[in-house]
């Protein structure tokens, strides 16, 4: 195989001449520089230009997405803090309410107990007074009855001659009378 078999159109233009195996040829250098320049421009514009553009776009897109996500995260954190604050305030308030209610209830129960104690003390003292009075009344009644009996006994003693038998009987009578009381 040779050049002629692959690219016949070039072969037809061939001069049949060959350069030296190791030769520095101005035409080849200029031609190679032009070839390289064309390839460089194509690769620069169509490969690196386009790909770098798309890579930059993607990088920017990713950065944007990340910054948006960060923003959303910050927002969420702020909201969370706000809600925490609100929750804390509400808890404090409820605790206050409970504390106040407890204190009030304690006060009220203290008051009730105090009042009840007072009342009970009053009732007891009144009852004691009543008992005392009744006792006095009973004692006085007994005293009256005893004196009545004594008077009756004395009358009977005065009416009759008192014998020893009579005396004994009187005493027994008296005692019986007393017993009837």
């Amino acid at each position: 195989m040779s050049v002629e078999m692959i690219i016949p159109c070039i072969a037809s233009a061939g001069t049949g001449l060959n350069l030296e195996f190791l030769s520095i040829d101005l035409g080849t250098i200029i031609g190679t520089l032009l070839n390289t320049l064309i390839l460089f421009l194509v690769i620069k514009h169509f490969l690196f230009g386009k790909v770098n553009q798309i890579l930059d776009d993607r990088k920017k897109y990713v950065e944007d997405t990340y910054s948006e996500a960060d923003k959303a995260k910050e927002n969420a954190k702020a909201l969370e803090a706000e809600y925490d604050e609100k929750l804390r305030a509400a808890k404090e308030e409820s605790a206050d309410i409970i504390r106040n209610a407890t204190v009030k209830a304690q006060q009220r129960s203290d008051e009730i107990v105090f009042a009840a104690k007072n009342e009970a003390a009053g009732i007891i003292s009144r009852a004691n007074e009543d008992i005392e009075r009744e006792k006095k009344r009973a004692v006085n009644q007994i005293k009256d009855e005893i004196s009545d009996i004594a008077i009756a006994v004395a009358e009977k003693v005065v009416e009759k001659e008192i014998t020893s038998k009579d005396n004994d009987r009187l005493i027994e009578e008296f005692i019986e009378n007393v017993g009837e009381l």
Binding site: M1, T15, V51
Partner: protein, 255 residues
């Protein structure tokens, strides 16, 4: 190259001249195989690149992933060797790399390797010299550029100038030498196998062309090294040297 015929080894010729102009002052301008095959490669690569990157979207297709991988790989290579602020060189590096590889691999189609022409590789090396000089002028100014040749001592000036010119020349010649050497060895082996086949009467004829049986298969194994491996390696070495030589002229704090 073509299939070597048995007989005396005719040697390996330089690139064929397809047509030429005789111009005044500059003399004869040859349009050689290297330039025409190079131009065909440029057109083919351009079509491939344009196909690769047309209709790119934010969500990439397989085609686009390949394009992005190429660009990112070259960008990373340039970033590592020349610093992140010199990504502007990346398209050029990619150009030389793909041109060099395809230029070497056209030998698989039976064409003469573009890179087996010293003029081609030296043209690329000259671009490298221009880039080196531009970079030096940019970072140390014209005075600093001239002064750098007298360092470390004034006596070194001719040596430094010589070294400055030889850096790209050696780059160009080593690339040419590797590919052309492989081409010569391949041709020699074809010739040797053709002669061996002729001696053993193991050949068949296709019209004018006589093909030795031993010429089939054995050269393919060598082709894997001389065409595929060497073509890839030389392209890679050439771009690494380009980046290293230009990168060396960039002060560390400007990379």
């Amino acid at each position: 190259m073509g299939f070597a015929q048995s007989g005396d080894f005719g040697g390996v010729s330089g690139p064929g001249v397809l047509f030429y102009f005789d111009l005044p002052i500059v003399g004869r301008i040859n349009i050689t195989e290297s330039v025409v095959i190079g131009f065909v490669l440029v057109v083919a690569i351009s079509i491939f690149v344009i196909w690769l990157t047309h209709g790119m979207k934010k969500i990439p297709t397989k085609r686009q992933i390949v394009a992005e991988w190429i660009v990112e790989t070259v960008n990373k290579l340039v970033k590592d060797n020349m610093g992140p602020s010199h990504l502007v060189y990346a398209p050029y590096i990619a150009t030389i790399f793909v041109f060099s590889i395809t230029g070497s691999l056209v030998s698989l189609l039976g064409l003469r390797s573009v890179t087996a022409d010293a003029s081609v590789t030296i043209a690329w090396a000259l671009i490298c010299l221009v880039m080196i000089t531009y970079t030096k002028l940019k970072y140390s100014g014209f005075g600093g550029y001239l002064k750098s040749f007298t360092e470390p001592i004034f006596v070194m000036t001719p040596m430094n100038i010589f070294s400055e010119i030889m850096t790209p020349i050696s780059m160009g010649l080593r690339h040419f030498g590797n590919v052309a050497g492989g081409m010569v060895i391949t041709a020699l082996i074809y010739w040797a196998l053709a002669n061996l086949s002729a001696k053993l009467h193991l050949y068949f004829s296709m019209g004018e062309i006589r093909i030795g049986v031993l010429q089939i298969g054995i050269p393919a194994v060598l082709s894997v090294y001389f065409d595929l491996f060497s073509g890839f390696m030389q392209a890679f070495i050439f771009i690494m040297l380009t980046m290293a030589n230009v990168g060396n002229c960039i002060p560390d704090d400007k990379k």
